[in-house]
């Protein structure tokens, strides 16, 4: 049961579909029944993290044990049984997510504090404060941050873990490249951990603590072992370090540290009070973000929840919308999303007024100028002030990828804002449609389609938070999605880790195989995306009738 294989994107997708496939089989009736009743029982209990974790862990153990003895799995290889276990875990935790993730207020509070601290630290922390050697090309760390920021796109513990592993992988490859070019020791933990800490601070992934707790509680313990356990431990370490970080933790004069802290706090406060309207709009963006990311992954499973588990889904939605802990009210969300182009900041603002892109840009401009003055802009976008002579050949790939991403995101945003400005009413028309499909099970296909489109391009969530944006339902926007997908397909093309284990190419570094399912979906192209959901709906239907029959 080597975990490495399981993180292969292609395997993972097959795994999950294979699981759903088996559960659709008439012989699976008893299993489906027991899974469903566990879900119902769990969702109705009052949250108690330790007990919840224990009960899920033991349910997974028991059910996976039952797989082995079940007629459905007769002749199944160990590998297939392991796959079924993975599938079960993903299915179960996708269903339980709303209740299992960040279940108690202390944990939400912890997330908020941590995120605020990172928002402050990231204003001034430099690699040398953690004794990271200067030979590091800092901009390449943006790739690692990007991987980590995907963590809230997924619900299944495994998928979240994969985001962490991908982040670590990018860092390790960068370290390796640096060490190959020099005579230094090969990179070990002495080199790795500081960079990881730096990346975490710079990325400031929302709800980091909750994500880590969630993985530990709900990733089956037999699968949180070996390499996955090691890198999980590293990010937990990074979190501890940041949580307890004080002046003496850094290679920095303590009075200088205090000064920097104060001015960073002042700066953040100033930003908040100078731009109250924009701030409010940040909130709405973030809220949408979270709402979307929560609903967003595993189209198959979430579709099932749309249709099948109405109570669960309803609770979940309200939860997400109302929840005060969302990064919405954390300063961090304003600063954290490194890759958000300036103009996009207020993209959620059209709730009230008719917005044009120009207006929005004007709104964001003071922020950008301020960021420019403080040097933040140059830190976030290292090439902003570069001249052609500064560039190295190895920068080209990264730059080009960034450029394409920004163009596509901007184009998508532009269209979305246009759409909102001209027809705010669209939002209204779209929601009832969804409501109907959720409550009655009619119009499944429409809801399905919507879900699929959302899930198809996970990276977009950082910019296009508005999952209700009418534009997303229009064909032209679907095209835009496709464009972004194509881009990511390009980025993800070289996703077989065994082919070239230590490629120095950054492009390769970014992807290297351990991508959660979505990459496969993207690679498969548009056609596949329309096929898959139907497939899952079929699975759902059978599962549903099974449940109702019994």
């Amino acid at each position: 049961m080597e975990n490495v294989d399981m993180f292969n994107a292609a395997t993972a997708t097959l795994t999950f579909h294979d699981f759903l496939d088996r559960m659709r089989h008439p012989q699976a009736v008893d299993l489906v029944k027991s899974i469903k009743s566990f879900i119902v029982e769990f969702m109705s209990r009052t949250p108690d993290p330790d007990k919840d974790s224990e009960s899920v862990q033991s349910f997974l153990t028991t059910t996976e044990g039952a797989f082995g003895a079940h007629p459905l799995f007769v002749n199944a290889t160990d590998e297939e049984l392991d796959s079924a276990g993975e599938g079960l875990e993903k299915y179960l935790m996708t269903k339980l997510f709303s209740r299992a993730f960040a279940p108690v207020s202390e944990e939400k509070e912890h997330d908020k504090k941590l995120s605020e601290k990172m928002a402050i630290l990231q204003q001034f922390i430099r690699p040398e404060h953690l004794d990271i050697p200067p030979k590091f090309d800092e901009s390449s760390l943006l790739f690692a941050q990007k991987e980590l920021l995907k963590i809230n796109t997924y619900k299944a513990p495994r998928d979240k873990l994969v985001c962490i592993l991908n982040c670590c992988r990018v860092i390790n490859n960068l370290l390796l490249n640096v060490s190959i070019g020099s005579k230094d020791n090969p990179p070990g933990a002495d080199d790795f951990l500081p960079v990881l800490i730096y990346v975490v601070i710079k990325a400031n992934p929302p709800q980091l603590n909750s994500n880590l707790l969630y993985i530990n509680r709900y990733r089956h313990h037999s699968r949180l072992v070996s390499e996955a356990a090691y890198f999980y431990t590293n990010i937990v370490s990074a979190e501890h370090f940041i949580d307890n970080l004080e002046a003496t933790s850094l290679s920095m004069d303590s009075s200088e540290f205090e000064k920097q802290m104060q001015s960073a706090i002042a700066l953040l406060d100033a930003n908040l009070s100078a731009q109250p309207s924009v701030t409010a709009k940040h909130s709405s963006v973030s809220e949408d973000n979270t709402l979307k990311s929560a609903e967003h992954d595993s189209p198959s499973a979430s579709t099932q929840s749309v249709i099948k588990l109405e109570p669960g889904l309803t609770v979940h939605k309200e939860d997400q919308v109302e929840s005060p802990v969302l990064p919405a009210d954390s300063i961090a969300s304003a600063v954290s999303a490194e890759s958000v182009p300036p103009g996009s900041k207020a993209s959620g603002s059209s709730d009230k007024d008719t917005m044009t892109v120009a207006k929005l840009e004007a709104l964001g401009l003071p922020d950008v100028l301020e960021a420019d003055k403080t040097g933040q802009l140059a830190r976030d976008y290292p090439y902003l002030y570069a001249s052609a002579g500064d560039l190295k050949v190895m920068d080209v790939e990264g730059l080009l990828a960034d450029y394409k991403e920004i163009v596509l995101k901007y184009a998508a945003l532009y269209k979305a804002v246009q759409g909102m400005g001209s027809a705010t009413g669209n939002r209204r028309t779209s929601s009832p449609l969804l409501d109907i499909s959720e409550s009655s099970g009619i119009l499944q296909t429409a809801a399905e389609f919507q879900n699929t489109k959302e899930s198809a391009s996970p990276d977009e969530k950082f910019v296009l938070g508005e999952d209700k944006a009418p534009a997303r339902e229009e064909p032209s926007e679907v095209k835009t999605d496709g464009g972004v997908q194509d881009l990511f397909e390009g980025l993800n093309l070289l996703n077989n880790p065994t082919d070239r284990p230590h490629s120095p190419s950054l492009e390769h570094v970014t992807v290297q195989g351990h991508s959660p399912d979505h990459s496969t979906r993207e690679t498969a192209g548009g056609q596949c995306e329309e096929v898959e959901p139907n497939y899952d709906v079929a699975a759902t239907d059978v599962g549903a009738s099974d449940i109702t029959k019994h």
Partner: protein, 203 residues
Amino acid sequence: MGCSSSSPAAVKGSGRLQTTSQPDVLDSKNLRIKLVLLGDSGVGKSCILLRFVRGQFDPSSKVTVGASFLSQTINLQDSTIKFEIWDTAGQERYSSLAPLYYRGASAAVVVYDITNPETFLKAQFWVKELQKHGNPDIVMALVGNKADLESEREVSREEALAYAESNGMFFIETSAKTADNVNQLFEEIAKRLPRGQSSLSRN
């Protein structure tokens, strides 16, 4: 000061060491061991690790995320032992994080640099900490690395040996640069592991 790159031909050591490409299936004779590497930064932890693992580098190995976690399987008499080696950051500012890493470890290798007495003091700190907070059955080894730099030696073999013996540890001096004693280190640990304990075996 980097450790020289290893190629299979250059590696000394016993022929008993083998990499197996199928470590997945474990039975009662096949152990999977979590081994944690502790020691000041710069003492050569990562070199020892790479020497041990890449000395018999198996290109089909699937271990890929990074070089701070590596695994290597050795055959010892009639059993196989898969070491999963957890490297730790040795800088002082990360000391308080070490318990997260050595929790549940069956073996610990505490490394110092024979040319640097401060790293030997730091090693003693780790030994004490492991005695206090580590797994009570943990197999510990004290390793003086950079034995190839005899002319710059500042920690005597006798002193280190005496310290190790008084703490029930296995002691060895290694050179990750020449690969001296690296395999012996891990074989000796393998021999000392208590057998038939559930904490060591997966199944």
